[in-house]
């Protein structure tokens, strides 16, 4: 009898305290705060405005603060002028005569022009390309390996690129050579991992993961070796800074070099996005559903690796983005890769843009990106786990 009475008194106590009762009922319906917010704003659509807003914000925001309207004016007229100049040049070259198209009068100072077009614009675009690219690659790999804890460097691309950059720094120090070396060794690492995975005839993705671990540790060891032999006053700090990741030295030329491979690789992954669903339910089931799983696996690995290697070669190692962003995406739009791939791209671009804004403004010196992404990404991921809103199992 006493056992039966206990819950009743408990309920009575709670109803006396209005706040607790309210909280209780909210919990019973299973509605948490962000779910209520999402009910009024369709988050799946709203996220596509995020990178556009952040793009403009990042252009005027910084240590050298600019007027938003003025920034917008400089950006539009400056871009228009650049296009008109280009057109004049092209027309002159084609017709053989000097053709001069009219252009807008430059009413803004040279320093503003430099800040926007030479410094911030390349950096902002690079942050968006790197963040979006890493997130698309991460989401695709999570589907391919049927595991939500996978990040784009599972097949060793980061370890390879890190070693490549170290070699570049040791041998020449020329930024272009460092980038090319990082890109090359990133691709090489994945190629070796894939080759090891192919030893087994019916190579499953598990073997690939193991091969990735093997290659990853191999290149980490080589990286340690190159750090060990590096000059502790000159090249060693350069290697260490490269490994922590930064966009502070990005130039327009860098952006022009990495934009095509990142956009092309991302486009491939975007086009096959619905097929990634099939891979994510298991290789055998995917085959029974008519998917050529071997070809699709290779296609996804090649596309993701090109994207990741291109991103890493200008930014250095930026962890966490490719792991955390797809989870945020899954939280907002669900597990279907049809929506998850584009959502990951815009969220990743926005995430790295914000992180890079913090990196260049928070302290007097630049904070390395890899440190910030982990500092922000890790607690956020823990929060998602605690909320059980990670979108799997």
């Amino acid at each position: 009898m006493t056992h039966g009475k206990e819950p009743i008194t408990e309920i009575r106590l709670r109803t006396e305290n209005g706040a607790t009762a309210l909280q209780q009922s909210a919990f019973r319906d299973g509605i948490s705060l962000h779910e209520t917010i999402f009910r009024f704003i369709p988050a799946g659509k709203a996220i596509y405005l995020l990178p556009i807003a952040l793009f403009f914000f990042s252009l005027f925001f910084g240590r050298y603060m600019m007027d938003p309207v003025e920034t917008f004016r400089i950006l539009t007229f400056g871009t228009a002028n650049a296009l008109l100049d280009g057109a004049s040049f092209l027309l002159s070259a084609l017709s053989g005569h000097q053709v001069l198209l009219p252009s807008f009068e430059q009413t803004w100072g040279a320093s503003e022009h430099t800040v926007i077009f030479q410094i911030r614009l390349p950096r902002v675009i690079a942050a968006m390309l790197v963040g979006g690219g890493l997130s698309i690659a991460g989401a695709s790999f999570q589907g391919l390996f049927r595991n939500p804890l996978v990040s784009p460097d599972i097949l060793g691309v980061s370890a390879g690129a890190g070693f490549g950059a170290a070699i570049g720094i040791l041998l020449s120090g020329n930024p272009t050579i460092i980038q090319i070396s990082a890109f090359f060794f990133g691709i090489l690492a994945v190629a070796v991992a894939y080759a090891i995975g192919r030893i087994y005839r019916n190579s499953s993705t598990l073997i690939l993961v193991l091969a990735g671990i093997i290659v990853g540790s191999l290149f980490s060891a080589l990286l340690s070796l190159s750090k060990y032999v590096a000059d502790p006053y000159d090249t060693l700090p350069a290697i260490v800074f490269w490994l922590m990741g930064s966009l502070s030295t990005v130039s327009s030329a860098d952006v022009i070099a990495i934009a095509p491979p990142i956009l092309l690789g991302s486009l491939c992954l975007f086009l096959v996005r619905w097929r990634i669903n099939l891979l994510s339910v298991g290789e055998e089931e995917a085959q029974a559903l008519g998917l050529d799983t071997k070809k699709m696996t290779v296609a996804i690995i090649v596309a993701s690796t090109i994207v990741t290697a291109s991103a890493v070669c200008i930014s250095g190692i930026v962890g966490w983005v490719g792991l955390v962003v797809p989870h945020i995406g899954r939280m907002l739009v669900g597990p279907d890769f049809r929506r998850l791939i584009p959502a990951s791209a815009v969220l990743g671009a926005s995430f790295l843009l914000v992180v890079d804004d913090i990196a260049r403004t928070l302290a007097a010196i630049e904070i390395p990106l890899g440190i910030l992404t982990a500092l922000i990404g890790a607690p956020f991921f823990a929060y998602l786990l605690a909320q059980k809103k990670v979108g799997w199992t």
């Binding site: 589907g143 049927r146 595991n147 939500p148 086009l271 096959v272 996005r273 619905w274 097929r275 669903n277 099939l278 994510s280 339910v281 298991g282 055998e284 089931e285 085959q287 029974a288 559903l289 008519g290 998917l291 050529d292 899954r330 669900g334 597990p335 279907d336 049809r338 979108g391 799997w392 199992t393």
Partner: protein, 267 residues
């Protein structure tokens, strides 16, 4: 004949044969139950028919075409496959999950359109699971996820449906539900091959039963001829009792426990 298997043999390592010289065929609306011990090669045989692996000898034909010469999507348009159990990595809704069955009808760079969605709705209505439409597969009971996997296979619009032990993880209520669904699909003209551990399924819905033992089909034919004391002793190593039960209006097959189980002593 829709499905035709002739003299198929398969071995993983080239030494021990998983199965040898398997031949059978399956016509429109026929149900074939495949019985046999654990590990006797039932699942391997199914993998051969799905062209996941290729038999070393013999051939598998679907609607008169050899599957080794067919592209994966061509096979998937003819053969639907329902695996034993699905391990969900991501919480797809039942609808999105079943929509994947449309894959062989969709071009590689495309996504499903209205018609594909309609076909999936049809498949859901056909087996009576429209209420599961928006439920996550990761939150489903075994019976529910089995039905969703059948719906996914139906969305492929196959002429053959292959089910790998469709009732193994289910309670008896859900077992009967799945069996009734299979029977209904066969009545609609789909050829059905299912592996099973319950000889009773043969009596309930099968037109023919085959028993796989030690890599060979030791018996093949109508359920009444195949499910016999001798055959089941050979296949499973136990005695069974096969009787006609009036209330059930069919034959039943129950195992006689060879070990002294304490439950018998009480009466």
């Amino acid at each position: 004949m829709i499905l035709n298997v002739e003299g198929a043999s398969f071995s993983y390592d080239g030494v021990t044969k998983q199965f040898e010289d398997i031949s059978f065929s399956l016509g429109r609306g026929e149900v074939l139950s495949l019985l046999g011990r654990n590990g006797t090669g039932k699942s391997t045989l199914i993998r051969c028919i799905l062209n996941v692996i290729t038999p070393q000898c013999g051939k598998v034909e679907i609607n008169g075409r050899r599957i080794t010469g067919m592209r994966p999507d061509e096979i998937a348009r003819e053969v639907g496959y329902v695996p034993q159990v699905h391990h969900a990595a991501f919480p797809f809704t039942a609808f999105d999950f079943a929509l994947m069955g449309r894959a062989p009808h969709i071009a590689i760079f495309s996504v499903p359109d209205e018609i594909d969605c309609e076909k999936v709705e049809e498949a859901f209505t056909r087996i009576g699971i429209s209420h599961l439409r928006d439920k996550c597969i990761s939150e489903m009971s075994g019976g529910e996820s089995q039905m969703v996997m059948i719906a996914r296979a139906l969305a492929q619009e196959p002429s053959v449906l292959i089910l790998d032990e469709p009732t193994s993880h289910l309670d008896i209520g859900n077992q009967m539900k799945v069996i009734a669904t299979i029977d209904q699909l066969a009545a609609d003209g789909i050829a059905i091959l299912m592996s099973t551990h319950f000889p009773d399924h043969g009596f309930m819905i099968s037109h023919s039963v085959a028993i796989l033992e030690d890599g060979r089909l030791i018996a093949k034919g109508p359920a009444e001829d195949v499910i016999t004391k001798e055959n089941l002793l050979e296949a499973y190593g136990i005695d069974v009792c096969i009787r006609y039960i009036e209330e059930a209006n069919r034959m039943v097959c129950i195992p006689i426990c060879p070990y002294t189980c304490r439950g018998r002593e009480r009466t």
